[in-house]
């Protein structure tokens, strides 16, 4: 057994505890545990914190991919505007593309505070755009397939990361 802590802050998470506590209420640090138990707890927490940093990077990449989708839609909108056969088609594609660009930009911005919502919405809308385009013109499914796969990959990875990060945050008791 190591000597009892003499301060009122946890050695692991620096949150206050009562001297009667056996475990830290905030992080579960074994306040009266052996030196080995305490070291294990701190190293486990450090590993989880590193995982959390990695998850945050994945989320950030997924959020960036939402900006990329908006940019690609913008470029294709310009292309469609130049090649539009009639004013009606031009107007219709303009309305749809402006809404879509706005939506993806909004998802990317919202993703800063509400990543789960932004990534689920972004992924769903993106997959549906691909699906609807494929229904109207099957050849579009193969067009830019590498880009599509990369974007979907980033979004799915980001979504998984959000969920894992949420779990870890709960475990580590951080916001």
């Amino acid at each position: 057994m190591t000597e009892n802590q003499t301060n009122s802050l946890c050695n692991c998470c620096a949150r206050p505890f009562n001297f009667n506590d056996i475990f830290c209420n905030s992080c579960g640090y074994p306040l009266n545990g052996t030196e080995q138990e305490q070291k294990n707890h701190i190293s486990n927490r450090a590993i989880k914190e590193i995982d959390l940093v990695e998850f945050k990077q994945s989320i950030e990449k997924a959020r960036t991919s939402l900006y990329w989708i908006a940019a690609i839609i913008g470029l294709s909108a310009i292309f469609e505007a130049v090649t539009a056969e009639s004013e009606e088609i031009l107007f219709a594609s303009l309305v749809v593309n402006v809404i879509l660009i706005g939506a993806f930009l909004a998802f990317a911005v919202i993703g800063k505070t509400k990543p789960t919502t932004a990534l689920i919405a972004g992924l769903s809308v993106y997959v549906i755009i691909i699906l609807l385009n494929a229904i109207l013109e099957p050849s579009t499914l193969v067009r830019g397939i590498i880009f599509k796969v990369i974007i979907i990959g980033y979004l799915v990875k980001g979504l998984k990361a959000v969920l894992e990060a949420d779990k870890l945050k709960k475990e580590l008791n951080i916001n």
Binding site: A92, V95, I99, L100, K114, T117, L131, L132, L163
Partner: protein, 212 residues
């Protein structure tokens, strides 16, 4: 989350099928509705113990319900006219549900069943029921409302409806969280769609003339 993904893929598949059918018929519509209803019941029933709580109606208030219904009818009239205006002036076309049902001798009743009653029960059970209940396990209440509302909006495949469909879904989601039941949502959804159906058959001016 995988379960939610699978559920949403089935929903999207059904809605996309309805969208790509060149000549929508009552039979096709019925088949798709039945598949979606079965999927909803299966997913909802799969976690019956957790989900059944939202089928209860705690703190039922008739005044609250009637107030919601009144506001819903007014809102639906506003939305119907706005959508009609958008379709006529901006997109130069007229849209309506009745054309699919008109030829049938019970067309009007079938339209009410398919457009008003069915979505009110099964969409609420699916989105404010199963989906929100499952999402609440992994995200907080606000995010559950946002996600379910966006997915609800997406399955309607109508970008132009963003101005009313998304706020409508957000309101129903918020109400479901506040009241801990889907039943207010079911009634609101039913009366919203019912008003749209009535206006599709008879314009508001005709109804006013008939009443007064």
């Amino acid at each position: 989350m995988l379960e939610v993904g699978l559920f949403f893929i089935i929903e999207i598949f059904c809605c996309a099928t309805a969208l790509i059918i060149d000549e929508p018929s009552l039979k096709n519509l019925f088949v798709i509705d039945v598949i979606m209803a079965i999927a909803t019941i299966l997913f909802f029933g799969y976690r019956w113990k957790e989900n059944k709580t939202i089928l209860k109606w705690p703190a039922f208030s008739l005044i609250k319900l009637l107030t919601f219904i009144g506001i819903t009818i007014i809102a639906s009239i506003g939305v119907s006219y706005s959508v009609d205006f958008l379709n006529r002036v901006v997109f130069e076309k007229q849209m309506g549900f009745y054309s699919i049902f008109a030829f049938h001798q019970y067309g009007t009743y079938l339209m009410f069943l398919s457009v008003a009653l069915y979505p009110a029960i099964f969409e609420e059970l699916a989105y404010r029921g199963y989906l929100m209940q499952t999402l609440l396990k992994v995200v907080d209440e606000k995010e559950a409302i946002y996600i379910s509302s966006i997915l609800f909006f997406i399955i309607h495949f109508s970008l132009v409806s963003v101005f009313w469909l998304l706020p409508f879904a957000l309101f129903l989601g918020w109400l479901r969280i506040k009241t801990k039941t889907i039943w207010y949502g079911v009634f609101i959804h039913f009366f919203f769609n019912l008003t749209a159906c009535v206006l599709d058959i008879a314009p508001l001016s005709d109804i006013i003339k008939l009443l007064f």
